[in-house]
């Protein structure tokens, strides 16, 4: 599903060059649930952005679903992204001016799904996330946990092959955090590939594989026995 070979990413600001990723190779199969962990500044988010086709690597090659995306332009990446990848962020990143239903509907709007179909799918996914009664509310009217559910609903509304989560529980208390993790796990069990960046060992324990980064390199990888997963 995902093949990264010798990926490097360097940022240049004025006269300082920072290396975020260095010679990183990674293979992720369809249906996996992978956690990426590491200290602040180890390159986790950069990696996630590259995986999510939000950013392009400076070096190396990236194959997504058997397509070499390394040299794709932004428009090509956007096209792949909108039908294959869903995102969940620590800070939810909901659009404040849109209602819950409208936020969730947005990916379908960009996929040009007809209105009646959109409505149906939004209703279903909101029900599933347990926030159907909040459809007309605006993000600021919801608790953090509810906002993150909206964000998850938005991420999965177009049934993406891959779900990328960046510290999905970082802004939530443990109760709401657990709820979110259970939802993500459930999605994974239904076949969605999940890649999650996290600081939390607890959250990582939901995944089947944990990759640890340090200074832009993979330093360890541990596979969990299927029984360990919840």
């Amino acid at each position: 599903m995902i093949k990264l070979e010798n990926i490097a990413k360097r940022y240049r600001t004025d006269e300082v060059e920072t290396t975020a990723l260095q010679g990183l190779s990674l293979h992720i199969e369809e249906g996996e649930f992978v956690s990426i962990m590491g200290e602040s500044g180890c390159g986790k988010s950069t990696l996630l952005n590259i995986l999510g086709l939000l950013d392009a690597p400076s070096e190396g090659s990236y194959e997504f679903n058997n397509i070499n995306v390394t040299s794709l332009k932004e428009s090509g990446r956007a096209a792949l992204r909108k039908s294959n990848i869903g995102f969940i962020f620590q800070s939810f990143n909901l659009i404040d001016e849109l209602s819950v239903a409208e936020n969730v509907e947005l990916p379908l709007v960009y996929l040009k799904v007809p209105k009646s179909e959109r409505k149906k799918r939004v209703e279903t996914v909101l029900e599933r996330m347990g926030i159907g009664h909040r459809a007309k509310h605006f993000p600021q009217q919801l608790s953090g946990g509810q906002q993150q559910r909206v964000a998850i609903a938005r991420a999965v509304i177009n049934s993406p092959k891959v779900l990328l989560a960046d510290e999905p529980t970082g802004n939530l208390d443990s109760h709401h955090g657990n709820e979110v993790m259970e939802l993500i796990t459930q999605l994974n069990q239904e076949g969605t590939t999940v890649i999650m960046v996290t600081h939390s060992e607890h959250d990582a324990s939901f995944s089947k594989r944990t990759i640890r980064l340090l200074d832009g390199k993979v330093i360890s990888e541990n596979q969990k026995a299927p029984s360990q997963a919840i």
Binding site: G52, D55, A78, F89, N93, L94, E97, Y110
Partner: protein
Amino acid sequence: MLESLFKVGIRNLLKNRIYSAISIVGLALSISCCILIAMWVFHETSFDHHHEKANRIARLTSVLNMNGEIDAAVTDLPSGPQIKQDYPEVEEFVRFRSAGRQAELSTDDKLFYQENVWFADSSLFDVFTYHSVQGELATALNEPKSIVLTESLKEKFFGDADAIGEQIKINNSYLTVTAVIEDIPENSEIQSSAFISMHTLPQGFFDVHNQDWFRIGFYVFLLFKEKPNVKEFDKKLIEFEKQYVQPWAEMNQLEAGLVFNITPLKELHFDNKRDYDLPKGDLNYVYLFSLLALFILIIASINYINLSLAQSSKRAKEVGIRKTLGSSRSELIVQFMSESVLLTIIAAIVGLAFVELLLNWFGNLTEIEFSSLDLFQPNILLTLLLIVLLVAGLAGSYPAFVLSNFAPVTAMKGVIPKTGGIGLLRKVLILIQFTVSLFMITGTFLVQDQVDYMRSMNLGFDQENILSIRIPADTSVNRQVGPWVESLKDDSRVKSITNASLPTGGGVGELMFRIEQNGQLSEKPINFIYVDDQFLDVMGIELLEGRNFSKEIQTDQQQAFIINERAVKQFGWQDGALDKRMQWGLMANNQAANDGKVVGIVNDFHFLSMQNELEPVVLLYSPNARNVVNIKFNQGDYTGLIKEMETRWVEMAPRHPFNYSFYDDILDRNYRNEERVSSVFSYFAVLSICVAALGLFALVSFSIETRIKEIGMRKVLGASSLEILWVLAKEFFVMLGIGFLIAAPINYVFMQYWLEGFAYDVPITPFSFLLALCISLALAASTMIYHVWKIATTNPVYALRYE
């Protein structure tokens, strides 16, 4: 998709209520301004377009060269028919002659002094388009003593009754109403309340005029078969002059010539440099006001752009999210553009409401009657559409094209790449705003300076406490009024009384004189006023040399002239002007009806308004002329006397209105045009500075909002509110200073140009410039009072926790 764009647009506007309101109000005000000005500009540029044959009509004018040039809007009587006869491309001609400044029209029971009454050829309705309400226009002016009334004049006389066949009296002769036409549109050069058939004038009049190519006194229009080529036809007119006018002039031993030329009807309104012309427009003002409207639009658009820029970091996050979720760049461009279109449309609607409210006021200011319906004319709607597209395009393009280009990851963090471009753009835009505002404020002061200057200048005569009464031409009334005016002289409240042909300061006539120069007589057109022996006394004009006219000297009417100092200088009579020979009522062989000598010299006085340079003038003695009586009151309350006069007047001349005005009011009217420019300028200036101030307010608010952490830090470290505000706002004051440095020289050059149009221009002093700067600084500072309070009440702890 559209619906969702609309929804998001509205929600964004509502979320940033204050900024949206500032943008919308600013834009709405400026749009209303633009629409009002557009209405005025369209009015000014649409003169006479409504005539069906407008493209084929041109006015014939003549430059009379007779020891000095008179570029006259009028020409002689014979040229029209002769040109039609000689040039097949000319289909028809029509001539107009004024029936007097205020023609006295009456029926048995009603009398009105009517402006714009014309004698016209019967071809009038073949050339120009008028719409008949009653009667057959084609034949309406065929017979002598026919009159065609406009609808409103007909109503004044006859109400709703049928007017055809009714009699109207003018100058003691009766005219028959043959037709009624719709009122003449305001955007017509030839304003008229009635047309009288040309052949109503006595045969003797035609005999004299038909034989004299230099008796210019007719507005002549030619109808061509096709749109005329002006240059080519003017060339033909040179030949025409050689063929007819030159031989005639030689035969009459006149060393003079005419240059004929034509002006297309549609260009007539701005052809404003000729003597004896109808009221005209000024193309410069059309340009000037259009420019002002554009300035205001720019100022308001800049507010909007700046506020969009200020909010761009907030919007960047949204861009990031949308891009992450799969939005394409073009979708984002459409989104931002449609938001900007939405806001502009709202502003346009509010602006139209403002226009509706301001329409009356604007009509008074411009002296044009506008109606709400004018708003829905295609050209106004088109202008509105253009404004909306322009403003929406300008204001929406930054977020649309720049924000949408951000990489999703950075955009989502709300971090805008620091290219320095945005900051610079904002500064440049603010600078433009300040420069334009300063330009307009300074302009207002300078224009007002000029108006005040003209008003305060010594006119060379005394204009206070003088009442001017118009005396009817009606001989029966005139006979009664004479003794009455005499009797007023005995009233203790009256100082003195004079008759004069025209109120001084309100214009004079020009006559052809012969004057003695180097032992010879040479011809010259000179201004003249008919006066009596009291004129100098009443007007406070000083006799410098010689004597006044006298009732005792019988020959004074034909043989005595009083001239002003300017005439002495211009005629080269510095060695002694008294007893120099002058003639008027010229005949061949140096003969003249009036042949005499200069008997007195008076100080220069401004018989024209101050826009014109002082010119030579000749006073002619006419003790019995009673067109206008000027009564000089003694200091004190004379309102009672005016009431008494009115009562007496009504007894004497019950049908004639008691028409009077004070001299200073008459003079004030001369400055109406400048007053108007001055008021329009000042309204615009106030508006532009208000809109700019609103923008400034919003920008500083925004800067406080986004730098709240910095403010908290500074507070913790002991800065006062004012010190903090200064950090945030100093760049604005610096820019105001730079704006001043840019605006001042432009103002200077511009005002020099404007003042060139005046014979007497006020010196431009730095005072107006500095005053404008001080006012702008004070205004800028006052918009920030709120901010000082806001900073003062900000809790630093909260500020530091922010984010």
